[in-house]
């Protein structure tokens, strides 16, 4: 077990009950009724109906000023009040990965305002990004959000804002799984 590598195990049992599962783009994921997030290793586990593995890494695009703000106001996953969650694995196209660092950064920051959009909803919506591309997983990123039922509207706003950015046009596979504890 590590503190940076996690498995999201989709099955018929687990901490989080699936309330909806929608394929927005690309291949579907096999239906599940429950999702469990567990500390793991790089060994490929065959648990549940499917297992998606992701790694917590350093922030790749966030600049100093924003990073300090983020660290000051963001809250951890696992708050007792956060009984709603969303698990949204995404894959970006080859066109995205062929961009140079400054091109990706421009899309993330100048145009998409990716960091500022997320920050607007802190600390209400706790977010964590798990990296999957470099470890040969079927998705590039596993995005994960936890929030209280009273912040459900704020979460819908955040998700809408993220999906209407230029960055999102590079996504070629996206599955949205809504969860309740």
């Amino acid at each position: 077990m590590t503190t940076t590598i996690f498995d999201f195990v989709g099955s018929n049992q687990g901490e989080w009950k699936v309330t909806s599962m929608t394929t927005l783009k690309g291949e579907v994921l096999a239906p599940i009724t429950h999702l469990q997030k567990v500390a793991s290793t790089l060994e490929q586990s065959e648990n549940g109906i499917w297992t998606l593995k992701g790694v917590i890494s350093n922030l790749r695009y966030t600049e100093k000023e924003d990073k300090e703000k983020l660290v000051a106001i963001q809250e951890d996953l696992g708050r007792a009040s956060a009984t709603f969650a969303a698990f949204i694995p995404i894959r970006k196209s080859e066109a995205w990965w062929n961009l140079a660092q400054d091109e990706r950064r421009k899309i993330m920051e100048n145009k998409s305002q990716h960091t500022h959009t997320g920050m607007k909803y802190l600390p209400a919506i706790a977010r964590k990004l798990f990296h999957s591309r470099d470890i040969g997983q079927p998705f590039d990123f596993l995005t994960y959000f936890e929030y209280a039922p009273t912040d459900a509207n704020a979460f819908e706003e955040l998700l809408y804002a993220l999906r209407t950015t230029e960055e999102w046009t590079y996504i070629d596979r996206e599955v949205e799984i809504r969860l309740i504890k």
Copy 2:
């Protein structure tokens, strides 16, 4: 086997013979006489005296103009003429990883001129960077260089230039292994 995950297996047999092994900073690596680079998976292998695993990823700092130049002039590993090699696993300090993206970028590009330094020695010195930090390895990066004996002086120049950069001051573990085929 994948095309992006590699094991560097240090042992008493293999394609590359070790001509020298020097610990520049931090903990030593157990002595070996040969090194072999093999296509691998994420499963931890217990081959040889030690095995260091790395993943080829997207370029994290290179900007568009430089990326296009790099792609146009760099050559692949495995050239018949490239019978000299250097394998230099490095780890950067927590201070480095706590920097924000713009701070790291400034050190890499404005101050260290990391990309331009390497480019000056292309295509003579073939380079490849393998990422190890996110997969829980003892080093953050496995740097690897191949070149012809006639370019040995150029390689020493390149290595000296890299080591005198501000970026290198963040390195807290570094072992240099020189190789001949």
